[in-house]
């Protein structure tokens, strides 16, 4: 019996809602586990993104320098890369700051609305935010798109099962937002 395909999920600049929806698969997670080997995920305790991954679901937009580095590594180690959820596909809420620019948003958050009144400098401690939030497709090639905020558990199951079956998921009927 050939080895099961390797499935990974990653979480970049997003709210983790797509992963919550993924967990909503409930007992179907067991069915999925029968079809694929979940080799890397924020919900599994794995430190490094492995080589030779068949399918990776990427939640979230590319918002900081760590995301930028990680998505390139992930792309290099993945056969089929899926932009998973609206933040990965469109930028969504994560990219709302592109309307104002990074400085304006930080100033509003830390100088106007916080009690400290200053923007903290955490150089070297947390990754630097990019000037503009990018969609995954702006940085690396994306093979499939699964929009939704979040995509429903049903949509995720059908999409992943189709990919695992070696088929191309249909594009019609996918929906941004609800």
């Amino acid at each position: 019996m050939p080895a099961k395909p390797k499935l990974a999920t990653v979480w970049l600049g997003g709210c983790s809602g797509c992963h919550m929806s993924f967990l909503d698969l409930d007992e179907r997670l067991i069915e999925l586990a029968a079809l694929a080997d979940v080799c890397y995920s924020p919900i599994a305790d794995v430190k490094h993104f492995p080589e030779g991954v068949d399918i990776t679901l990427v939640e979230g937009a590319v918002a900081n320098t760590d995301h930028l580095r990680d998505i390139r590594t992930i792309r290099g180690r993945t056969k089929i890369l899926v932009a998973f959820g609206d933040c990965a596909v469109t930028g969504n809420v994560t990219a709302l700051r592109n309307l104002y620019g990074l400085d304006e948003v930080l100033h509003r958050a830390y100088n106007e609305l916080s009690i400290t009144g200053t923007t903290p400098s955490l150089e070297g401690i947390v990754p630097r935010l990019l000037d503009r939030v990018l969609r995954v497709q702006d940085v690396v090639a994306v093979d499939h798109f699964l929009p939704g905020c979040p995509p429903s558990a049903e949509a995720i199951y059908e999409f992943v099962a189709t990919l695992l079956g070696g088929e191309t998921p249909s594009r019609e009927g996918r929906r941004f937002g609800a």
Binding site: L130, L134, D138
Partner: protein, 548 residues
């Protein structure tokens, strides 16, 4: 006015001129005005008085004499010579007839710039004062209208225009006679004649020069159209950016009304025709006929889907005959000399002459009128003196933002509607801009796309949002940040704009991109693959890893 008074006016003016030894005509059109022709004219007038020759020397304004880059131009009738780069200091010599000081600045009709041209539209330039109706009449003006009103029926006029095979000079080249016939045959009792003088292509000033230099020719053409189409009201829609042209049209309309050449009972007939001026306010899209109609009606100049076409439903829903300035300017001579005469000039499928506004990297720039079908090489090398020393020809751009470029291998292409369309550009209204090897063709495409983006009316999505996207892709490429995917995205957007836009502006907006991609694909690839601008124009910096 009657046939008799028209003749009398003409004879009186010719008689008056007999006493004048030298008629000095100063170009008073935009190009020479910028170069100071106003001061020259004033100096000439002063000098004529000072030398006591006011009776024998007459100083007048006149229309564009063509070689705008050497303006101000002044023509002396005594020796049929045009003097270039005239300054007020030249006035005494011009008035006294001392040609000695004009070494290298005296141009006769034998000069290659003039010898190679055939001037029908511009024939009065240098000869008539655009502000005097008597000058126009003395040159044979309003004879076409006289004939159309007194000796022809409306169907005769339409037949004559059809026989001439004149094609609309606004760009697309639709047969003028067919358009006239549609309006003339329409059963509606109310119809309109509209002159599209909203020439807005950057680098095009043919129509404006005609209006500034010979406005009565256009009025006469319109009145003949009114007679043919059964219309009693005409409108000239002029660009608000051309104050001089507006002034000249106003004056000409006023004069024609006073002389009874506009108004009721023209030439003692039942034909009546009025012309009113409408002034645009800075919207290129108003050159599109349905948008122009909206603008005359006092609305946002947004195009409407065609059909219905204006000959069926135009101004206030009535049949409307719309032609551009140069088309109307061709009409008087066609009526006077016959359609067959006109059809014998130019090529079989595109008869007549075309005025080109030549600009850019050639020795002589300005207005050039040649028979249609003259090769680009003849215009650029023989008439315009070729590309200056030290520069190398790369391409000529025609048709403005709706057109494309003609690269060196096509220099022997005849300049007619169909040949230009075949190689992916168009005649347009006559802008002809010469580019040398230091011009980047990707940047040229970006420049025209920016123009279309700024001028898009915003009504239909493909044009409003598509020009923005195409412009941003082209900008990325000129910054050296383009990708291979940008090529097919440009092509896909081009197809959408061409096929799905509501009006001609959106449909034609991709043309400069498609044309430069067709003839200069290598330049695009160099920007994208090698981050290098072969013309050395685009400031491409060492590419960063992420461009956000």
């Amino acid at each position: 006015m009657t046939a008799e008074t028209l003749r009398q006016t003409r004879d009186a003016e010719l008689e008056r001129r007999k006493g004048i030894k030298n008629r000095i005509a100063c170009c008073t059109v935009a190009g020479c005005e910028s170069a100071g022709s106003g001061e020259v004219r004033a100096a000439l007038e002063r000098e004529a008085a000072a030398q006591g020759r006011a009776g024998e020397v007459e100083v007048r304004g006149t229309g564009c004499m063509g070689w705008c880059s050497r303006g101000p131009l002044v023509r002396c009738s005594s020796n049929d010579t045009i003097y270039a780069e005239v300054t007020p200091a030249d006035a005494p010599a011009l008035v006294s007839g001392d040609a000695g000081r004009f070494e290298g600045r005296a141009l006769t009709t034998e000069h290659p710039f003039y010898a190679g041209q055939r001037r029908l539209i511009l024939r009065n330039s240098g000869h008539a004062d655009p502000e005097r109706i008597a000058d126009y009449i003395a040159q044979g003006g309003y004879q076409g209208l006289l004939k159309a009103v007194t000796a022809m029926t409306p169907p005769d006029i339409v037949a004559e225009v059809k026989r001439s095979r004149l094609r609309g000079r606004g760009g697309a080249g639709y047969p003028t006679g067919l358009k006239w016939e549609l309006v003339a045959r329409h059963p509606s009792t109310v119809s309109y004649v509209v002159c599209n003088a909203d020439e807005g292509d950057p680098g095009a000033f043919m129509n404006r020069s005609v209006l500034e230099g010979d406005p009565h020719r256009v009025l006469e053409g319109m009145a003949i159209a009114g007679r043919a189409a059964g219309a009693e009201q005409g409108y000239i829609y002029a660009r608000g950016e051309s104050p001089l042209a507006i002034e000249r049209i106003r004056t000409a309309i006023e004069q024609a009304r006073r002389e009874g050449l506009l108004g009721s009972r023209i030439f003692d007939s039942n034909f009546q025709f009025q012309i009113d001026l409408r002034i645009g306010a800075g919207a290129y899209v108003c050159g599109e006929e349905t948008a122009l109609i909206k603008s005359i009606e006092g609305k946002r100049g947004q195009p409407a889907p065609r059909p219905p076409y204006p000959p069926e439903s135009g101004l206030w829903g009535h049949p409307t005959l719309i032609n551009n300035v140069e088309t109307f300017a061709n009409i008087p001579a066609i009526i006077e000399n016959g359609g067959d005469w006109f059809a014998s000039i130019g090529t079989a499928s595109s008869p007549g002459t075309k005025v080109f506004a030549v600009a850019g990297r050639v020795q002589r720039t300005g207005l050039v009128e040649v028979p249609i079908g003259t090769t680009l090489r003849t215009i650029l090398s023989d008439i315009c003196g070729g590309v200056p020393e030290g520069y190398e020809f790369k391409a000529a751009q025609t048709g403005g933002p709706a057109g494309g470029c003609i690269p060196a291998p096509f220099l022997d292409l005849p300049m007619d509607y169909d040949s230009l369309t075949r190689i992916g550009t168009m005649m347009g209204s006559g802008g002809l801009i010469v580019m040398d090897t230091s011009t980047c063709m990707v940047d040229v495409a970006r420049f025209f796309m920016e123009f279309c983006m700024d001028e898009s009316c915003g009504k239909c999505i493909p044009c409003r949002a598509g020009t923005v996207q195409m412009h941003s892709i082209l900008e990325r490429i000129t910054r050296g940040e383009g990708s291979e995917a940008d090529f097919w995205m440009l092509e896909e957007l081009s197809a959408l704009l061409r096929e799905a836009s509501l009006c001609g502006l959106g449909m034609a907006a991709p043309n400069p991109v498609l044309s430069t991609m067709r003839h200069f694909r290598g330049e695009y690839e160099a920007h994208v693959r090698e981050h290098h601008c072969p013309a050395g124009h685009c400031p491409i910096h060492a590419s960063e890893e992420v461009h956000s």
